[in-house]
Amino acid sequence: MVKGQFSWKDYDAGNTKHEWDLQKIHAAHKVLTEFKYDKNKIEKGFANKTLYINLTTNEIKEKPVTDDMKKKFTGGRGFGLKLLWDSIQPDTRWNSEENDLVITTGPLCGSTQYPGSGKSLCLTVSPSTNIVCDSNVGGYFGPYLKFCGYDALEIQGKAKEDVIIVIDGEASVIRIETAPLEEINTHLVSEQLTYMYSSKDDERSRQRVSVVSAGHGAENSYWGCLNFSFWDIRRKVARLKQAGRGGLGTVLRDKKIKGIVARVDKFTGVENAPENPEAAAKVGTKIQKEIRDLDRYQCNMRQVGTAHLVEIMDAYDLLPCENYRFGSFPKAPKIYSMKFFENFTRVIPDGCWHGCTMACAKTVDSFEVMTGPYKGHRVTVDGPEYETVGCGANMSLWDPKWIIEFNFYCDTYGIDTISSGTAIAYYMEMFEYGILNKERCGGLELAFGNFNAVMQFLHRMADGDTDEFIKVAAKGIRRVKDWLKSKNWGDHQLIEDAGMESKGLEYSEYVTKESLAMQGGYGLTLKGPQHDEAWLIFMDMVNNQIPTFKDKAEALHYFPMWRTWFGLNGLCKLPWNDVEPANNAETNDPSKVPEHLNNYVEYQNAVTGWNINKEELILQSERAYNWQRALNVWMGRGQRRDDWIPYRSMGPVTELEYVSRQERYDKQLAEIMNKPLEEIEKMDVGKKVKLLYDHRRNQYQILSDAVYMRRGWTQNGVPTPVKMKQLGFADEQKMLDFLAKKIQEDEENGLNEWGGVYSESEEKPSKERRYWESW
């Protein structure tokens, strides 16, 4: 490992060098369209234009960003929702001609003074969920897109052959070019395109190119992610961050895009043109100093990234082991963060955008690939991050090297580690029960802990293997559940309850059984089960800060709104609460990190010149959040039945799980049933599993009732026209009419009813059934 203070020119990552004839590859391109444009000067965080590309017609045009759009949707993900609303239909699916793939920035994206200011928000209709999925990602593409003069990029239609899109901010020209000879897998194509499109053959020029790509795995599964590159001048390699969730890379490859290239000229620290650069720099430097002084005593992000969570989750019984059956595991210390620290090549600075001193992006340089097409190559692997390590635990892979290999191939094949890891863990459990077996798995011995089988599965999938299992399995848990049931290979209830998906999307890596609020944090979401809207486990389970349903509903209102705000602005959430001021615990609301909340108010005002306070900041989110929910309803989902979660996330599905935590569950049952513990202990385990099952499922419904009301929705989870008008959508008549009609239909179908069964001592959220009418 390099011990600091060396010239960036001198470091050699020790990776396999590629010998490509880039001139020949480039010469094979045919320019399909060229679009010259006048670059807008960025003003106060906005370029004030979006870029529209249609790959079917090869049309390229610009759309204006209006003040009305900023007022209603703020930016970033909000703009993405607006562009999608204007383009898609309720029956648009991921592979429909009109489906948009949108990459947005946000007004703070591209600033360099505040850590975490380089995020892009990507949106599309997801193959997994059939509704809009948004996914955030670091890397340089978002900032560069804006520096090229666009707040967002919208791609509609499908190319007839493999293409690349080049957004050249140096020459103010956009081209669609055929790209027949480039590689598809990311670690190769991102490097090829970076070399090909950098203005000069040097590291600094390469750093001013960013590439979006996917890989062969994205073509052959519903788990496709978008890899955003950020060229590392020290390692001399295209590093990668992923917009992982929801199959965005699958859509990219369905549109036959091999890569989207953004190239910029030299840029400065005020390229984002803040209204008040001094104020932005001041608040940014303040938090950077906090990171410098406190990170080593808090999260250790600068050394191990999010992998620091592994040991904490294991200690609190929250690390998903063997498909979420257990929250801790005897072998877990083998994959604690220290084990990755030993593997990481710590060549600082390691931020995925300039100025991010939290620097959670870690790499393993010169990693020798052990399996598959790149066996024997030495590569730089970005990560693994906590979620990927969690997938290792879930699949019972307890060797850091195995997890790094899994991470490498997921990235270069362009698939989401979370979705694929969670899904494979489920297939493994089905394998354990004999519901799946070697024959049914296309010859794969997909047992827990079988690293080679996992890698074989990924390689065969990326290779387009036509085996029935590989093809269904690559579409994720939801489709496999239906497939297993159609084959009648096992108990249907077990098949449903054990598979960790909701809305068709796989869960991320936390065990939620003992935190009802976190179950809501996963289920009562827009895009599907992820922890990007709320992470309430400690507040709820460890610190018991939100004991009542009303408290939990308040948290499930506030935190999703607050966390949505990052995506509207092009920010990363981590610098909000993965470092905290030393006196945070003494403030009146430590879970909100009040000082950092104030930072963000100051920061947004400094860049945009707006004059918002922390309440208006939540209002910005509430607008986008409700709009997205309404969009989901409009597409036929986004209702109570869609917010349902599998029982594995609520409690013990099997007797084995119950017995593994018997003391805890017995105690809970004694309380619920108001019976002495001794009596419970003597009861049949199967019966106890069933009692807990009925109780917890009802608790979830009661929680949903409270949350829907708090958010201003009907009992069926539909945003009301009144709420939408209050938020400023009074002139969006089409949406308001739709919602009014939908609520009327729900009324006729008896869906505007409380979902929970309440005992006499329990209070419903409101005495009025149609509570929203009196608002």
Binding site: K3, G4, Q5, F6, S7, W8, K9, D10, T112, Q113, E203, R204, Q207, I233, R234, K266, F267, T268, G269, V270, P277, E278, A281, G284, T285, Q288, K289, I291, R292, R296, Y297, N300, R302, Q303, V304, S337, M338, F341, R346, I348, P349, G351, H354, G355, T357
Partner: protein, 153 residues
């Protein structure tokens, strides 16, 4: 690449200083082409308990590893310089400087620092400043890189 072993750093003779701040003005000329001194100077003179103190970069070079675009480098003469034409204004070097010697003025987003040019030495009427050569190994500092501060110091 040959290893750079020696660097020139500023030495301050406190007893000679009269607090005229000619050094700061000279420094402002170098960095901002003005006589403002103060926040536009990389060298600062403060009075504490009737004595003058100098606050300036000692060329320890920790900032080199903080720069995401490689704008900070150690020159062959040992001095650490920030190239403002490459800098993207992120302030990581400012925040992480253990001495607070990487400076930023409100008038420009790119930080600036002492480049051991000697302008202040020449400007000082009392000969309170001089440039001395030191061994880089003696002053060098690197970014904290251990596994956790609490357990591993």
């Amino acid at each position: 690449m040959t290893e750079i072993k020696r660097a020139k750093i500023l030495k301050f003779n406190s007893e000679k200083c009269v607090g005229c701040l000619e050094c700061e003005k000279a420094c402002s000329q170098v960095h901002f082409k003005c006589d403002d001194g103060g926040e536009k100077s990389a060298i600062r003179i403060h009075e504490k308990d009737g004595k003058f103190q100098m606050h300036v970069c000692n060329q320890n070079g920790l900032c080199i590893d903080m720069c995401p675009v490689g704008a900070i480098e150690r020159m062959p003469n040992g001095t650490v310089i920030l190239n403002k034409n490459i800098c993207v204004g992120c302030q990581a070097c400012v925040a992480f400087c253990p001495l607070g010697a990487m400076k930023r003025s409100a008038s420009r987003i790119e930080p600036f620092k002492c480049i051991s040019c000697g302008a202040c030495v020449r400007a000082c009427p009392e000969d309170a400043l001089e440039l001395v050569e030191v061994d880089i190994e003696e002053i060098k500092q690197i970014v904290f890189n251990n596994y956790g501060g609490a357990n591993h110091g």
